[in-house]
Assembly symmetry: none
Homo-oligomer: 414 residues x 2
Amino acid sequence: MRLELINTGTELLLGSTVNTHLSWLGQEMLPLGLRIGRQVCIPDGDVIREALRETAGRADVVLVTGGLGPTSDDITREVTAEWLGLPLEEDAGVKAWITAYMAERGRPLSEAAKRQAMVPRGAEVLANPAGTAPGLYVPPMAVPGTGMKSPHLFLLPGPPRELKPMVRDQVLPRLAAMVGPALGMRNFHLAGLGETQVAEAVEGVLTGMGIPEIGYCARAGEVIVRVFGTPEQLAAAEMLMAGTFPAQFFSSKDEELEQVVVGLLAKLGQWVSVAESCTGGLVAHRLTNVPGASAVVDRTFVTYANRAKSEVLGVPAELIAACGAVSRETAAAMAVGCLAASGADHALALTGIAGPGGGTEAKPVGTVFVALASKGGGEPVVGQHLFRVERETFKRMASQAALDLLRRRLIRMI
Amino acid sequence: MRLELINTGTELLLGSTVNTHLSWLGQEMLPLGLRIGRQVCIPDGDVIREALRETAGRADVVLVTGGLGPTSDDITREVTAEWLGLPLEEDAGVKAWITAYMAERGRPLSEAAKRQAMVPRGAEVLANPAGTAPGLYVPPMAVPGTGMKSPHLFLLPGPPRELKPMVRDQVLPRLAAMVGPALGMRNFHLAGLGETQVAEAVEGVLTGMGIPEIGYCARAGEVIVRVFGTPEQLAAAEMLMAGTFPAQFFSSKDEELEQVVVGLLAKLGQWVSVAESCTGGLVAHRLTNVPGASAVVDRTFVTYANRAKSEVLGVPAELIAACGAVSRETAAAMAVGCLAASGADHALALTGIAGPGGGTEAKPVGTVFVALASKGGGEPVVGQHLFRVERETFKRMASQAALDLLRRRLIRMI
């Protein structure tokens, strides 16, 4: 079943509002095995005419958001009726609802507001408990003068707080009734690998399993492999991922790396602390984004200056002078000092050059050392990376490397 | 000039990634007096063929994002060449760039990666300093077999960190050369006010000045007023903002609050430290996002647990027991303790309830106390806020309140 989405709204094209309808609706469709095959965003006003016409013969279901309100550029209802040759008739139930809604708020019932009670003949009203304009469902019918059939049409309000309950309560049940049993989807999240490396290692095998569709998405320090298939194919794909990338594959449940780390620490009943130089608090910020982080994070430190590394973490000033603030030795000493200063079970430390300034030939901008020390765990481990990206992406990639270093230690302890 | 945008990317339609390209590009076009007239989002793969064809004869300029990478579903380059009947030729410069880029990262140069060096004859390469796949500009030409002319085509990478510099440095100048002189635009950033308050105070005056277009954008803890006009109108609008909102108006140069704060501190030669509980490192992260932050940030602390507040900041355990960790008194003591522990000139402290758990009737989820202590500045000031939003937005709004509290103190010292 082919699904398309039309978003109307000049503010979306001007960029003053981010269009979150597509991602929200896309996710709502997945459990039904449905996908939005195409989305178009058009300004308020007359362009909706052409956008609707284009869908005939191509889409089975079309969702339209926006253009149902009372102002003069809200014309979705009228254009749809005209396109399908349907008269608009006042709906007594809707009119009563709008009248009561306005009265309750002490606002007058304008002619413009009354227009929202007009319903194309044959359409079903989708009640809108959060606003005045109802949604409409127009079943497929012959489009006059074209020999084509119209798609199942859902005309929906634009404001998210009106759209979301209407979709959940009234649109999804209608769609579920239209579709049969469906393919499932699973996202496999991997850290510490490039997109090409991942594709080269698994694409052939996945295709050989008869998996009908494979997709890749690269984020900073993360690759996501998206697989569609039957429940058996998805289970086989997950075994393949776990077998091929035992250390790198960290979630098939769309968790962020920090969620996985906080979950593992909570399961082990252990605490983590962090000493951050170049990431300046981002690792702590990510850990504390996870609800329940207070069970695994007690305190963390940003030690940006050399003096702070010495005074807060006890890193000898001579060591920094001899090896440099950005060095394997300083990272290790920061982790050991952080473990002592926090009393945590694990301490991560990061020191690097976020740029744009501060690089040298031996240690260019993008260099970062990430260290992990654990209680009773012997010498700290230190990884060295080079992330040649702008400052904020550098911080993100460095934080990802740190969280992943800890994750790899924790999974061996479970 | 009619502009259209094609976003390719299955992840956008599935909803796993929010499409921010439209809003970002929409805003970038405004200073040129250009607007995106239509945006379409399609999956990776073959559908790009139809989407490109549709634009001929309708659009003057088409921006395409995504589909330039090395994997098998990245076919924007090939489909464009086929559509326009252009042979693909290896570009020596691009190939050398990709080879060096991969070598530097110790990754092999695969056949798939080499495909990114193929350029349709007659296209201009748009260099991509942040990745391997270059962008392409294909000037208008006759579309074989149709009698139509193709639009100005810009093929751009999908990842925002590659897209944004390419658009700013290479696409906007080309578009600017195509359009005539345009109205200027200025964004006025305000903290600590609601959108409606701002609009009610200035919209009438701005309209009276003959300003042709005014827009508002509300972010977490910030309102942006966008004004178009002649240089004289923009200067008058800026005087109006500074006069009407002397404490709240903080930038007309699209600076983030943390950039303004770091700039003010640098000018004063002063240091700041932060003691964060509920924001868990976000204030430090934001401050250290600013290049040069090392001149004003020496160290900061995340003191998540009560014990950490006592041990790291010297907040008496009895005070926490008597007043609660989330209280005016604890926030003030954290700020005073942070000032002493860091030796900084100013210390911010935050303590609150980010949720979803932990609220009480007297202190519901969303409550936060923000304190500021300064060297020789007497008693710390403490503000109380209630941000009833989900966890990550709460952290953002609390960090905004803290940075703004400091900014207001600093502007009085300049």
